[in-house]
């Protein structure tokens, strides 16, 4: 007698918990053959708002963790992902990837996490300076996280894209609210499960699934969001996000290059994009 499979329920990931959307709405995600894979939560602006609240709350403690610790947390994500490789490959295949492409994407994602884990206790050394001022002062500049970042993740490469956007932002001490690929959202929520079972504190990464058209403007306009990353080529989005961002001088980051193997997706400069530079002065005379 054949056994009936248990289908996975995909929910949102907010503040280290997996709530359903407060709106009660869903959208169907089908595989290439047109069969239903999952009913995904169609997140609302209120879900986004809730995520901002928890992300804001979690940010200082996350940024305050030692660089060594943050690096180990990222490395732990990579370890967990490695252990659940097969699930991710299967989901990528279900979402339309070839087996080979799916395997490659999962491997690259794991490697990318390890890459950024390694930067955790190094990027500050790379970007910080001691500035030789012409007065009796010690003067230095160092990076600090910008704070809370909204991310509109790549539509394709639903896992590698997600990891490439999240890792540099969080390794730099930011907390993020990510809108996953709309058409390929499965891996995003599975990644949330990985995050939740590694040592990432609740609220550091928050993942929503839903409709870009509906949510992007809220992600750009929310006054308690410090920066927004948009990966994609939609000119209307870019214009509109920039306009909304101007209301609170939000930092905008636009990634238009589709090729996630490009150097700048694996680079300390990607970390720098969601950092502020702080310069401190102190007298030295005695």
């Amino acid at each position: 007698m054949s056994r009936l499979d248990i289908n996975k329920t995909y929910k949102l990931y907010i503040g280290g918990k997996f709530p359903r959307t407060e709106s009660g709405r869903y959208y169907a995600v089908n595989n290439s053959k047109g069969n239903l894979i999952a009913n995904m939560c169609l997140a609302s602006r209120k879900d986004f708002r809730n995520a901002v609240v928890v992300a804001r709350k979690a940010q200082p403690a996350w940024a305050g963790m030692t660089a060594l610790n943050k690096g180990q947390v990222l490395y732990r994500i990579a370890e967990m992902l490695e252990g659940r490789k097969e699930q991710f490959i299967a989901e990528l295949i279900a979402q339309g990837s070839s087996t080979k492409a799916a395997q490659e994407e999962v491997n690259s994602s794991i490697d990318r996490l390890v890459y950024y884990a390694g930067w955790s206790d190094k990027y500050l050394q790379f970007f910080s300076t001691v500035n030789p001022v012409s007065s009796s002062h010690f003067n230095f500049s160092k990076l600090e996280p910008v704070g809370v970042v909204s991310i509109i993740a790549p539509e394709n490469n639903s896992l590698l894209g997600l990891v490439s956007m999240i890792a540099p932002a969080i390794v730099g001490g930011n907390t993020v609210i990510v809108l996953a690929s709309e058409s390929k959202p499965l891996t995003a929520i599975s990644l949330a499960e990985v995050l939740n079972s590694s040592d990432v504190p609740g609220g550091v990464v928050n993942i929503l699934t839903g409709n870009k058209d509906e949510l992007y403007s809220h992600m750009a306009s929310h006054m308690d969001v410090n920066s927004i990353i948009y990966f994609g080529n939609n000119a209307d989005y870019i214009k509109s996000i920039s306009e909304f961002a101007s209301n609170n001088i939000k930092r905008t980051v636009f990634y238009k290059n589709d090729d996630l193997s490009n150097d700048f997706y694996e680079s300390p400069y990607a970390i720098e994009k969601t950092q502020e530079l702080k310069t401190t002065w102190h007298p030295t005379d005695i």
Binding site: V133, H137, S141, I249, L277, K278, T279, T280, W281
Partner: protein, 488 residues
């Protein structure tokens, strides 16, 4: 007006005779034109506006008003010059910039006098701070021109193209230097607009730039007000806008360039917290408060305009501050003994006076130093508002004048919360003799520049710029190159 009186027991008795800086060596023309494509040219529409001496409200000179037609000519000149300038070796570019630095040093005194005449700032500030720092800035970035790849390891920096730069009236020459030096070092060409109330030193700088022999069109300096600025912002062939000014205009610019390929950096307003702990070197802290808010008449985006004093020392600090304010000499910007000069314009004076009215109406206790203000011109006595709170408008909004809002606090966490409780994030000051406390605070204050046991210090090697609504991008230091390069 109910004034909060000061019983000054240490009143100075010796008054210093006037010591006016000589103006003999200064040449100011009656009329100034636009500097476009290596020539001083009349504006297309033939319109001129007056630039005024704010300490007398008398006209100094007529200055050309650039319209969109002139902006277009300037942008075209910059575009034409871009190819040659950007392909010039860094070494050669650097040498032009070194020349500009030297030429400013040679004519420093003339620049200082004109800066004070046109803008109202005390001659000792323009002489000792503005002009030397401007020269230093060119000197600093001249040295970067042939070393750019060391600033960006593993990447190849390229210039952006034509850069539109719009600068404010509070540090006219210095802001021009902050904008021009890194842009030129990285191989961009520039259209720069000084503020309409203080165009003269930028136009004098145009003379120097001309004398440096820099290729025509690399630097274009055009004058005008907001409309001229808007024409630069909206010009389709400008690749980047670098703006220093109010947060309001910054938002307008960031909105206006949305959806274009222009990149933007903004250095905007602030409402800096200046925090005095009970264990601070109180006397230096008092001096720091004075530097923070009365320097340049408080026309400083990074001014420490919100003072937080720990309650246990509040009375002492306020008394010492009042006594110190009494010794500030307010008056003729050209007098070498003047500490606080003229308010930059009639318009700005009205804004400040309006905030003072608001402060009084909201119930703040006002204290003003008892200095005698000159009869003509724009003046504002150094002013404190005591017993105000975070909800007061004068605590929340940038006044851009010599007006300090004073609050007290009890604990470290309380003052951090209050200091960060603002959309601005440009500067902050911390005064304590305890090293751990300094680092605890400087790590947590949300501001781009933190002065610990000092305030309002600037240096070409030191990056400057804001968090939050105080803008983005840095000026000064190695990081000050970032806004003017791109990577493929």
């Amino acid at each position: 007006m109910q004034k909060n009186e000061n019983k000054n027991m240490f009143k100075a008795s010796w008054t210093y005779d006037k010591a006016p800086e000589s103006t003999d060596h200064v040449q100011i023309k009656k009329e100034y034109e636009l500097y476009i494509n290596g020539k001083f040219t009349k504006p297309v529409k033939g319109k001129y506006f007056d630039t005024i001496n704010p300490s007398t409200n008398k006209k100094i000179a007529s200055v050309a008003e650039a319209t969109s037609e002139d902006v277009d000519i300037a942008v075209k000149a910059a575009r034409k010059a871009f190819k040659g300038w950007s392909s010039l070796s860094g070494k050669e570019r650097g040498k032009y910039i070194f020349r500009i630095a030297r030429l400013i040093q040679e004519r420093a005194r003339e620049f200082a006098v004109i800066e004070s005449l046109d803008g109202g700032k005390p001659i000792k500030e323009s002489r000792d701070i503005d002009i030397p720092l401007a020269a230093n800035h060119f000197f600093y970035y001249a040295g970067w021109a042939d070393k750019l790849e060391y600033a960006f390891p593993n990447r190849k920096p390229e210039p952006l193209g034509v850069v539109g730069q719009i600068i404010p009236w509070n540090f006219p020459l210095l802001m021009a230097a902050w904008k021009l030096a890194p842009a030129l070092a990285t191989g961009n060409t520039v259209v720069l607009k000084p503020a309409e109330t203080t165009p003269l030193t930028a136009l004098k700088l145009a003379e120097i730039i001309h004398d440096s022999g820099i290729p025509k069109g690399v630097v274009n300096i055009i004058t005008g007000a907001g409309e001229t600025g808007a024409s630069i912002v909206n010009h389709p062939d400008v690749d980047k806008i670098a703006f220093t000014g109010s947060t309001g205009v910054g938002k307008y610019i960031s909105n206006a360039v949305a959806g274009t390929n222009k990149s933007v950096t903004l250095e905007l307003g602030g409402k800096g917290a200046n925090i005095i702990f009970e264990d601070a070197a109180i006397d230096q802290a008092v001096e720091g408060i004075v530097n923070a808010i009365f320097y340049n008449q408080g026309h400083v985006c990074c001014a420490g305009s919100r003072l937080f004093i720990q309650e246990s020392v509040a009375d002492v600090v306020i008394q010492k501050l009042k006594d110190r304010m009494e010794t500030l000499i307010v008056g003729d910007p050209l007098d070498k003994n003047t500490d606080v000069g003229a308010i930059n314009s009639k318009k700005q004076l009205q804004i400040i006076e309006n905030y003072i009215k608001i402060g009084i109406n909201e119930g703040g206790d006002i204290y003003q130093s008892s200095c005698n203000l000159p009869k003509s011109g724009n003046w504002c006595a150094p002013t404190l508002f005591l017993n105000v709170s975070q909800s007061h408008k004068i605590v929340q909004e940038e006044i851009f004048g010599p007006v300090l809002a004073v609050q007290t606090f009890r604990t470290i966490s309380e003052v951090i919360e209050k200091a960060n409780n603002t959309p601005y994030g440009l500067s902050a000051g911390v005064w304590t003799n305890n090293g751990a406390k300094i680092f605890h605070l400087t790590e947590r204050l949300e501001a781009g520049v933190i002065w610990a046991n000092t305030f309002n210090k600037f240096d070409a090697a030191s990056p400057f710029g804001g968090y939050k609504e105080s803008g983005y991008g840095r000026e000064g230091g190695m990081q000050g190159l970032n806004p003017y390069v791109k990577f493929d």
